[in-house]
């Protein structure tokens, strides 16, 4: 009996196909892909990382993964250094500041070699997005750590973050990499019940579970970063740039300082900008008969509940929340009464964050119009002033938590 294939019909040709070998190839291939993804992400491959600029962000259909971000930290931060992770929105991302003038570069310079500053802020992110998740995931690997993020008064720091960055929270949550914290779990459960059908919950869970096993996001992000990017995106829509490896895209950010101050704040936008400035406080406050502005009790209690649940208790003390003030060019246009309410909002919000267990202060009240590039984003000069203030606060937190004396850090 010969086993030599004698193909003349389709049935006999099927001897060319060996199901066991095929299955072994399929399973082996998936295991190899997953192993390669874990290896490259853990080791890190963003050699020239500055920040998540437009070509390296969800705006360009590039979604950095949790392990990819952790892989940016590892080659840069030694165990004896204090890790400073910066989160928050476009203001802390450094929009309007070229890479070499970025405020976090100045922060690094001021803090010196004992610290490593990494800018993980994203445009339009909450203080609980992106960098916050990475900081929590790395809490044991880097116990000497400060997390800094910005926000505006009484914006709710929902622990599950917001689109499009909340995938990082779900990823960390489904993979069991976040600390157990019942107040947060309660808010997350309420959110899931309110916003997701069971089918959608299953979709998110199964996608993260599958990715946790196979790491397809990690692998293909690495391929897209190093070799070939295959996702059509609005930042580089045309060939050949559309498929260029993401590493070829430099961090090119326009420089606000190249625009004369008089041309930065266009009169045609003034009414819209003033509406936004007033919106920072007008719906949160009511006026008492005495004429004083008071925070609405429902706003206070709602904010306190969410803020207390946003980060686990043991991580709050190393979390610095900076409240971003609007450009004085616009603030000065507020009537005295509105200005009083605005100041009350910043004072009360910083206090509310502190009451919830965080470090918090505001910045910008003593800045010049030239320190801004628009209503909210800082120019390089504003960035330097911000870096100065944040450096002082980071040093204060580091001293308070025993990071600097060579003693083991307090939990």
């Amino acid at each position: 009996m010969s086993e030599h294939p004698q193909p003349s019909t389709g049935l006999e040709r099927s001897q060319y196909f060996r199901p066991r070998a095929f299955l072994a190839g399929l399973v082996g291939g998936l295991i190899l892909c997953s192993a390669l993804a874990r290896f490259v992400s853990h080791r890190g491959y963003h050699d020239d990382f500055t920040r998540f600029h437009q070509s390296l962000s969800p705006e360009a259909q590039y979604y950095p993964t949790l392990d990819e971000m952790c892989g940016i930290v590892r080659p840069r931060c030694r165990p004896d250094q204090v890790l400073v992770i910066v989160g928050g929105n476009s203001v802390f991302n450094g929009v309007g500041q070229p890479a070499e003038k970025m405020w976090t570069v100045e922060l690094q310079r001021r803090l010196g070699d004992g610290f490593v500053v990494l800018n993980f802020a994203f445009r339009g992110a909450l203080p609980t997005d992106g960098g916050a998740v990475v900081a929590e995931v790395l809490r044991k690997e880097y116990p000497r750590q400060v997390y800094v993020a910005n926000t505006v008064p009484f914006s709710l720091p929902v622990p599950y973050g917001q689109e499009p960055y909340n995938y990082l929270f779900w990823e960390a949550s489904h993979w069991g990499r976040l600390e157990g914290f019942p107040p947060r779990d309660e808010l997350v459960a309420e959110y899931l019940d309110r916003e997701f059908t069971w089918g959608q919950r299953f979709d998110v869970w199964s996608r993260d579970w599958l990715d946790g096993a196979l790491r397809f996001r990690d692998l293909w992000n690495w391929v897209g970063y190093e070799y070939l990017f295959t996702i059509q995106n609005p930042i580089s829509p045309n060939l050949p740039q559309a498929v260029w490896a993401r590493r070829r895209f430099a961090d090119i950010e326009p420089d606000f300082e190249s625009i004369p101050v008089g041309e930065r704040f266009r009169p045609e936008y003034r009414a819209a900008e003033m509406k936004i400035v007033r919106g920072f406080s007008d719906s949160y406050y009511f006026r008492e008969r005495s004429g004083q502005w008071h925070l609405k009790p429902a706003i206070r209690s709602g904010f306190e509940r969410v803020a207390k649940a946003a980060f686990p208790d043991d991580l709050k003390g190393r979390t610095l929340i900076m409240l971003s003030r609007n450009n004085p060019y616009y603030v000065r246009l507020l009537p005295a009464d509105d200005l009083m309410r605005e100041n009350a909002a910043y004072r009360d919000a910083a206090q509310a964050w502190r009451n919830a267990g965080y470090e918090s202060t505001d910045y910008g009240s003593d800045y010049e119009a030239s320190d801004y590039g628009d209503r909210t984003h800082l120019s390089a000069s504003g960035g330097r002033r911000l870096a100065n203030k944040v450096a002082d606060k980071v040093l204060e937190i580091s001293r308070k938590r025993g990071y600097l004396q060579g003693e083991p850090p307090r939990p």
Binding site: C33, E59, V95
Partner: protein
């Protein structure tokens, strides 16, 4: 396919068996990579995020 038939006929029995196993294994590997990529693509939002400062 005819070329493949002729090739398999020309090979000694043992080599033909090894070749068919290797081919099936390779096919599995290629499909694994393809499946891995498809899963990645399916996980991406269909519309990109547009950032608007406010």
């Amino acid at each position: 396919m005819k070329y493949l038939d002729n090739l398999m006929k020309a090979l000694p029995e043992r080599s033909a068996r090894i070749a068919s196993h290797a081919g099936s294994l390779l096919l599995g590997l290629v499909l694994a990579v393809l499946l891995h990529y498809v899963l990645y693509r399916l996980g991406l939002p269909s519309k990109p995020f547009i950032y608007v400062a406010f």
